[in-house]
Symmetry: C2
Subunit: 101 residues, 2 copies
């Protein structure tokens, strides 16, 4: 499992509109092959800041499957205008915390 | 539920030592009142970078309960020497993505 994480900074005053648009756009990402779950987390300390966490079966499900799909064009059309600056996205794999090496 | 998120950058070359130390320190945070779960995620793109996600019942469980505890002093002693720069920590609450407003 791969975790995609992006810190999103939304143009001030457009937070409610962004959240509502994201709610609709959620259907797009949730329909993609390899998608497992996602959450949008609103920062308590910094207005307009969100942490997006998406879990995928494999890295390629996001960077190949989703980003090269027609659905991504629609996702981008809906959401990318809300961000300032444009966010960077990183991918992570869980460190096994149960078994000492 | 509150999500604590911190992007950690570990001194290069000390990643394995950090992960092993974190494995032991995990027992500390997991024993605290209001703690729900945590995960340490290793970045695929940037060596030495980790995303720490901790879920708490309430904000005060982290910023009051944990940070003012003797256990935090031990947590800090074990882990803080690995970070460069010292990380900032933010807190988040989930945006309800199921119910349109």
């Amino acid at each position: 499992m791969i975790l995609e994480a992006a810190m999103l900074n939304v143009v001030r005053g457009r937070e409610a509109e962004f959240e509502n648009t994201f709610r609709h756009a959620s259907r797009i990402i949730a329909s993609m092959p390899g998608y497992l779950s996602h959450e949008l987390q609103r920062c308590l300390e910094v207005p307009g800041r969100y942490l997006l966490l998406v879990r995928w079966e494999q890295l390629s499900d996001h960077v190949e499957g989703f980003r090269k799909s027609p659905q991504y064009a629609e996702w981008r059309r809906l959401l990318h205008g809300f961000y300032d600056p444009f966010p960077s996205v990183e991918h992570f794999e869980a460190v096994d915390l149960e078994h000492a090496e």
